[in-house]
């Protein structure tokens, strides 16, 4: 098994004339949480879409589990949570989980136990039979995360997972992500929250389609001679 779960080489992507990604290379290693931070419009979502095979790069290549993307079958090993909640509002939480579990090709005998497990992680066990319509913003976010966790995927791709979630639960989710990593799951997460970036194993700083820094949070702080990732971000953006 290769150590590199995601490996992106010299990716270039343009939408019309606008260059979104300019020669981006980076990697997510086995059992790592990699944070992708950057201002909005920097190209974070585009990297995620290329990794999932929803977009095709103009040049360069992206590999997931050593397989050239886009590839449909490999998607069963990945859990994805988008920026928007992406839920069926007229269905209950359980029905949402069940539907996506089937789409993710979970085994029939595992369905119930998996739904039980992931709803425990996001603390929704008591709300499973409520309609998503009646959920609060935070609950929807948690359900959305639970769907990504279905089937214990080896790779999690989370786009802004903790927006609108209160601090206590946010902490729980990060503890859970840490546990998943310790069990060998690799995680690529984009975030706006800078103190979350401190919790990752590596941070990639994406500004204007270029990765301008990519290292462990502590190394970055030393490199830029500041005391937080937030200040690294400020300084790096100021240098541009």
């Amino acid at each position: 098994m290769t150590d590199k779960i995601i490996s992106i080489n010299n990716l270039k992507k343009k939408y019309g004339k606008q260059v979104v990604l300019n020669n981006v290379s980076f990697e997510v290693d086995y059992g790592q949480i990699v944070g992708l931070i950057g201002p909005s419009g920097a190209g974070k979502s585009t990297i995620i879409k290329l990794t999932l095979g929803m977009e095709k790069a103009d040049s360069g290549n992206s590999e997931v589990f050593g397989i050239h993307m886009p590839n449909r079958k490999i998607l069963s090993k990945m859990g994805y949570m988008a920026q928007s909640d992406s839920l069926y509002n007229s269905l209950s939480a359980r029905e949402n989980l069940l539907f996506f579990a089937k789409m993710r090709e979970l085994k029939k005998e595992d369905l119930d136990s998996e739904i039980e497990r992931v709803s425990k992680v996001v603390d929704l066990t008591d709300q499973l039979d409520k309609k998503v319509d009646n959920f609060s913003g935070g609950m929807k976010r948690r359900l959305s995360l639970a769907i990504a966790l279905l089937g214990n995927p080896q790779l999690l791709i989370l786009d802004e997972p903790t927006v609108g979630i209160d601090p206590v639960l946010r902490k729980n989710i990060w503890t859970e992500l840490g546990k998943l990593r310790d069990n060998g799951c690799s995680i690529l997460v984009t975030t706006h929250v800078m103190d979350e970036a401190e919790l990752t194993d590596r941070v990639a700083l994406l500004i204007d389609g270029n990765i301008i820094a990519d290292d462990a949070p502590n190394n970055l702080k030393q490199q830029y001679d500041v005391d937080s990732i937030e200040n690294v971000f400020m300084k790096a953006e100021g240098d541009m």
Partner: protein, 359 residues
């Protein structure tokens, strides 16, 4: 099997959305009931004809024509006034050995009814004159056989009206319109809410999504047609000569075209409002080319155009089954054309989803 999971999910969503349910099941029935009522009363329209200086005989023959009321006027002037005030629809004046008709011509069908009434009255009058003359020439009493006229109706009865002719087209139209709209909206919602992206981030095949939609909305269309057909037969009292199963088969196939067209269109629009804006382009022209208006009098370019409208084939097939009792072999060509529409549009849709995932 993902196709089944997707369509059962969509059906769950539909059954929990009361507005969509009402749109599919209740609105067509209300509209058809109203149309049937309007057309049934339209059928018994009377025309009011004014006469000036018309011989007694012609006038009494005119009165005998069905649905004609005759009013006598003293002179042209007073008839003109009555026409202007909408008391009469036309008047006939006899002047210098000539009959002249003046029509309001607001309703062209009344104008032609008037013309037909006058000519039949005149024919009867001259026939009568001829036989009196004949009797004078040869006073031998001839035994003339009395002519009996009987009507035999292959379809319906003497009460059959324009609405009966419209029924097949209306059925095809309702199935197409409501399924087109609801399925298009559903896929659009799935796209804008992000669930389509999430779905495509799983190993589901693009074709499984499209087939899931086709299956669920196709099923809804079958329920819809069953209700519409039962309503027209039992409540509106319209006769179906052929097999109801063939009608259901045709509408089911048409609904698959509508679904595919709705899904295709939804990928071109950004919002539900934009989808509504396409209705005048996609749906309305189909009504006019679907057989409501006889197509054989059209120009060639318009005839060619009519071939690309799927409702036309469905309404022809339904009307042949319903009114002429055609069997499967009689409508098989129409069905094949409809299936071709389904195949082409579905293929385009499966390819079209590549916009959202490259494999």
């Amino acid at each position: 099997m993902k196709t089944l999971s997707i369509s059962s999910r969509i059906l769950k969503e539909i059954f929990r959305d009361k507005k969509t349910l009402a749109m599919i099941f209740i609105i067509p029935i209300i509209v058809m009931a109203l149309m049937s009522y309007v057309f049934k009363s339209y059928n018994s329209t009377d025309i009011n004809i004014g006469t000036v200086n018309i011989s007694q005989q012609v006038e009494s023959n005119l009165t005998k024509v069905k649905n004609v009321n005759v009013k006598e006027f003293k002179n042209e002037k007073s008839a003109e006034n009555a026409l202007r005030d909408n008391y009469i629809d036309s008047f006939i004046i006899y002047k210098n050995n000539d009959y002249k008709m003046v029509h309001a011509n607001i309703d062209a069908s009344k104008t032609s009814m008037t013309t037909a009434a006058l000519s039949s009255a005149l024919t009867q009058t001259s026939l009568k004159n001829m036989s009196t003359t004949l009797a004078k020439i040869s006073p031998v009493k001839q035994h003339q056989p009395k002519i009996h006229l009987t009507n035999e109706y292959k379809y319906g009865s003497s009460k059959t009206n324009f609405f009966d002719k419209m029924m097949p087209t209306l059925m095809a139209f309702f199935v197409f319109f409501f399924v087109f709209l609801t399925s298009g909206m559903a896929l659009l919602k799935e796209r804008t809410s992000g669930t389509l992206d999430r779905l495509l981030a799983t190993p589901v095949k693009r074709s499984e999504i499209i087939f899931g939609y086709s299956l669920s909305y196709g099923l809804m269309a079958v329920f819809q047609t069953i209700i519409i057909v039962l309503f027209t037969i039992k409540v509106l009292d319209i006769e179906v000569v052929g097999s109801i199963w063939l009608i259901l088969l045709t509408t089911f196939l048409l609904s698959l075209v509508a679904i595919a067209a709705g899904l295709l269109l939804s990928t071109f629009v950004k919002s539900e409002f934009q989808l509504m804006q396409f209705i005048p382009l996609v749906v309305i022209p189909q009504i006019f080319f679907s057989g409501l208006i006889p197509l054989n009098s059209l120009d060639n370019w318009a005839k060619v155009l009519s071939f690309i409208f799927p409702i036309k084939y469905a309404s022809e097939a339904i009307s042949n089954v319903m009114m002429r009792g055609f069997t499967f072999t009689g409508i098989v060509i129409e069905l094949i054309v409809i299936i071709l529409f389904i195949a082409i549009l579905t293929f385009i849709n499966i390819i079209g989803l590549k916009r959202y995932r490259k494999v």
